[in-house]
Structures are given as C-alpha cells and as structure tokens.
Symmetry: C2
DNA sequence: CTGTTAGCGCGTTCAG
DNA sequence: CTGAACGCGCTAACAG
C-alpha cells in the first residue's frame, strides 16, 4: 500500500539516493532531476520519506518526551503544569521538534512506557524521589523540573526552601496558631493532618523543601515547628482543599503551597464574610476582585491571575520559562543544574494584623 | 555506545530472536533462558528493544499525533483545547500509546512537520477550511474536531448552528440592538467590526456555523441580521475582548462565542456596577460568585466553571468527551462522523428583561 | 551532480 | 521451544 522510495526511483529512472536527496537535501540535486522526482512521486502518491525509517537511520526521533506525572489528565487541570508545557512547546517549535507526552498512570508499567518512547530526550515534571520513572531516563538527555535531582540528569528549579522561608516570614508573623496547607508527602498521596512533621519524611522534593522553608520561618519568628499543624492534601486540588479546610479553621495564619488551594479556603467569600475588604498591596495593575475578610493571614504560591485579583500574598515564578529552560537543555544535549528565579509578592492577605476586623465580634 | 540486541544475544550465547522474545513475548521463552537473557541484558546496560527499530518493523509508531492549531502556546492557554487534550490523553493511556503534539506555527512548514511526524494517526483541533495541514493528514487515520469536514477523515463536533440558534433565541429575545462577539473569520485573524456579515465568508467552520445559527435566531425573532453588529476578534482571548468591547457597548444583547470573552465584557464588575445581582437560574450547584449588573443580556459558550459562578447563559458541551471520541476513532482505525452532545444552559444573564435595573437611571 | 555499497536494530518468516 | 536468513525504508559515506 505504501509507496516506497525505491519504487519512485525505479519509476523516475534514478537511484534511490537521488530521490532521498530530492526530498531531504533539495539543494544537492539539479533542478531538473528534482522536478522529475517530485513529479513522479506526486503521481505515485509518495509524499516523502517515512519518518520511522528516517529516525532509525539518523538515530534521531525528532521529538522530545515529556513526563507530566501521574495521569496526564490531572496535568492538564493544573495551570502550572500547563504553563510549563507551553514553555517546552515554544522551544520545540523553534527547534522543529515534536513534543511527545508520555502517559503515566502511577502503575508499574510507567517506567517501561517511558523507556520505550521514541524520543530524543526527556523532560520530567517534578515528582517523588522514589518514582521509578527516574531510573529509566538516564539513557537519553533528561532534565527534571522541580526535582528530585537525578545523577546525570539536568535540574531546573527555584530555591523552594528559600522561597518558602520568605513567604513564611510574611504569613506567620505574629501568628499564634499557624498552619500549612501542603502538597502530598509521598506517592501514596495519603491526606492527613499532622503537627510539625519532619520535612525529610516528604518524598516529593517540592513538598519537602517548602516544609523546611516554612519551618525556617517559624523558627526565626520564635515559634515552635512541632506545634504547627500541616494539612496534607492528596492533590493540588481546590475542591479537596475546600472540603478539608475545616481541620485548620481556627488557625490564624495559613501558608498554602499553591494559590489554588489557598483560594479554596472559606476566607475568600464574595462579600459574604464580615470584615474589611482586602486591597491590593502588590504592584500588579489588576484590580481587586474577590474579597478576603481579613481575619487571618494567608499565603499562596505561583502568583496566578486569581491571586492578583484576590490580593493573595504569594511566590511568583515563571513555570513557562522553566519549561523553556528544560527543553533547551534537552535540545542542546548538555544538561545541568539551573536555578530559576522567584520573588515574593506581598499583598493584602498578609498585610495587616489579624485584629483589624471592623465588624462582628 | 548503545547496546544492541545482537550483542546481548552473543554474550548470553543465544540467538537474537531469543532475546527479542525474552523482552517482547516472555511467555514464548523458557523461564531459564528468559532469566539468563534478562540478567545479561541488565549487566550490559541493555534496557530493551529500540523503539525506533521496532516501529519500523511493526509499522506502528506507538503514538497518535495531535495538531492543536496555530502555535501550541496558545493552545495551552485555551481551557477548552486543554480539556480536549485531556480527553485524548485519557484514551492514549488506555491504549498504551504516546501522544505527540505536533507544533504548528501558522507558517509554510506546518504541513511538512505534520506529514513527517512519526505517528499512527492524527487528531486535529478545529481549524479553517484552507488550512494546508488538512491536505496532509489523509495518509493516516485522522479525525478533525469541530470541523472542517475532510474527505476520508473523521469528524467529531456538535451541531454548532443549532446550538447557536438556541442560545441566540435566549439572548436576543426582545433586543433592539443585538451584537455578536465572534471568533476570527479566517486564518489572517483580522479583527474588525462588521454588520450582518455573510456567515459563509467565515473560513473557520466554528465561526461560520455559529454566525449562521445566531442569524437564524435573529430572523426567527423578527429581527434583521443585516443590522446586527459582529465584533470579530483575532483570538479567543479575554484581554483582547476587553479592549475591543467598547465598540459594542451600546448593544443591549451580546452573544459571545466563548465564556471567556463573554466574561471579559465590562458588564461583569464585582459588585461595582449598579443594578441587582444576577442569581443562578441554571441547575448547577455552584453558588453565584461574580455579579452581573443586568443592563443587557449576554450569552457565552462552553459552560466553564466561571460561567456557572457568574450566572452566564451558555452552551454546554464536553470537549473532554470529544477528545476521547476523536482519539478512539484514531486508535480503532475506523473514522467517521460523530455528533457530540450539547445543551443550552440558561442562567441569569439572559433571565430578565433589560429594564429591571433597580437603581440609577 | 549522481550512483554504489552498507548497514541502522529489530521482527517476521520458516526450519529445526 | 530455538535458530538463520531476510528485509522494513531509509541515509552516511564514499566513489565516479
């Protein structure tokens, strides 16, 4: 069914190589021959070299593989992962490469799927230390975004611990009963409420480092980490956060590991809660939209558009740029450790003391 | 550098085929030999058959290609495209296939990139009739989501015209000065304000059919399409819609082709505009969040979460299901025309007559 | 500028 | 259950 190069060559009365060149290196063939080849190819319904065969011969798959973590479906629901992917895509376009999303389910077949993917290199979205996928990416140039660090692979990440400390200092100042709204600790994703957990017990580096940074802040502020409640979620999911939030409803300062879960707290009620409205203390031009009855301090992470509108103090980082950085490393073939930028964005949600509530008791 | 099957075979003292079987069809090899093979493979750093070579031999790339339209970066910023992709991904996971996003720039190299991608079939996100990519997808099983229809390719779409008519009847009822907030007409994406354009002049089928449906509604309501202003945007983008909205500020009914651009209209101001608050007239359980000063009727499209919160009348469709349908067709190899479901969701934004405003003049 | 010679790494024959 | 040939469709490297 498929027309082959050899058939075109035979029909055109030239050698196979001439056909190959006519398609892949047109400048190396005389205009006459090239036209002849293209014409007969068209007649025969041959549209060009088979990508699989070419890939075998050139040892280049022409695509970079992206592992977005447990089930692609979640990945697309996470705006940060999506933004990251857009950065990877931008570089792929420049480089003329495809972008293969490698589906991962959390099951045992994941590593095989990753290994068997026909790609020139890997970009791995942040995962846990014990993710089996990490053992398999070493065969080709690979970069992990957000950690963990893998020997031989690149790493693009912000200093999560320093950023967590910075935002922790903003949100925990003066708190008597601080709490953390946390990403999962390990791949089992067991939700739970714990007090002052050892950050080292978290297998997701992002979770581990942020917990450590929050602890740094608490300690610097003269608090006792052991008394800090940490509400661990199964996922970075607003609905889950909303449902679980009552467990820390009496906390007077909450540091959340994402804007999404921070904004899922009941404090953000549209004009319903008592108290004065938060005003935007940041430097963005977006107007204040949702309102926060300032009865306690809250911080998020990522500086999404919603955080700006809500006046949520947060950590700003460009996942898009990190995506580009990862892709560039893989494309160039030289991988290494690359620190990405972050900055603290202080807004109204950590602006005033908790006792400024105007109405009610 | 790369360890080959033959080398493993030699070292293990078996034939190449035994190694092949040991990896690809373990049950056809005795347990003893299999273990021997796996062990020596491990020692030599051989991790399994090369995907490229296997693909060439089996004539299956092991991935399906997705063309998400002009520059992937935009695609990830469109929540509908993202949701669609999640559906495609879900089927890929089931089928054990990769998902290759084929980067497209809008430039002349697009068709080649699509043709040269090593994939088993294509899923194409809705595009214009004259998109060169469409001429190239015929070589493998292909499905277009949202049109245009391509001979030999599958098509998964809702009846955009009927849906537009339905939502048009809701939003345009009683309007004296109706307007449409439209997707682009063609790939040139020239923004403009026109009156009663011929729907046929739109090369994007989605735009064309929705305009035709809106026209149907206007006509049925006794109006004159020729007087209806259509504000054509370059993209489905809230910022652009916000900037351009003043051109139709005096319209008393606006049908928008997406929730995003509908909610970018200045009518949705959080508690700032005069007038009563819209209340959710739909059947969702989400509470009313953003508020709409009901001074004119507005409709959107897609039924996003924001629409539910805002009380925006809209057309509900599951892009995720459509993504799954497309992928299933490609995976199965039998493509065809498949109608997807939609339904009108009437909410407060088209609930009351425009003169029910309570305050001001 | 064009043709010839060799494979890329594997899986599908078909014997044994 | 295992082995030996053969070729998937193409291109690198050289020759002419």
């Amino acid at each position: 069914m498929a027309v082959t190069m050899a058939e075109v060559a035979a029909r055109a009365g030239v050698s196979v190589m001439t056909v190959s060149y006519a398609f892949s290196r047109p400048e190396r063939v005389s205009a006459t021959t090239r036209d002849l080849v293209h014409r007969t190819a068209q007649e025969m319904g041959y549209t060009g070299p088979d990508p699989g065969a070419r890939a075998l011969r050139t040892r280049r798959a022409g695509a970079i593989g992206v592992v977005l973590g447990e089930h692609l479906t979640y990945a697309f629901e996470d705006p940060q992962a999506t933004r990251f992917l857009a950065g990877v895509a931008a570089v792929c376009v420049e480089a003329g490469l495809g972008l293969t999303l490698i589906p991962v389910t959390g099951g045992p077949g994941d590593a095989d799927r990753v290994r068997e993917a026909a790609v020139d290199g890997y970009v791995v979205w942040t995962t846990a230390d014990d993710d089996p996928v990490l053992e398999v990416i070493g065969r080709r140039p690979a970069v992990v975004a957000g950690g963990p660090a893998v020997p031989g692979a690149g790493l693009v990440t912000i200093d999560d611990r320093a950023a967590a400390r910075a935002v922790g200092l903003a949100v925990f100042r003066g708190a008597r009963s601080p709490a953390v709204l946390s990403f999962p600790m390990g791949r089992d994703r067991i939700p739970r409420l714990v007090s002052g957990p050892d950050p080292e017990s978290a297998l997701f580096p992002v979770t581990r480092l942020r917990l450590a940074g929050y602890r740094d802040a608490i300690t610097e502020l003269g608090g006792d980490w052991a008394t800090v409640r940490v509400l661990v979620l199964a996922r970075n999911d607003a609905a889950e956060a909303r449902a679980a939030a009552s467990a820390i409803e009496d906390a007077d300062a909450v540091a959340a590991m994402s804007d999404q879960i921070a904004l899922a707290l009941p404090d953000w009620q549209d004009g319903r809660a008592a108290g004065r409205r938060a005003t935007d203390a940041g430097n963005t031009s977006e107007p204040t939209g949702a309102s926060h009855a300032v009865s306690r301090r809250i911080s998020g992470w990522d500086d999404t558009a919603a955080a700006a509108v809500a006046g949520l103090t947060t950590v700003s980082q460009s996942l898009r740029d990190q995506g580009k950085a990862c892709a560039r490393q893989v494309v160039s073939g030289v991988v290494g450790v690359e620190q990405a930028r972050w900055r603290l964005v202080e807004r109204a949600s950590t602006a005033g003391p908790a006792d400024e509530v105007s109405a009610d008791g």
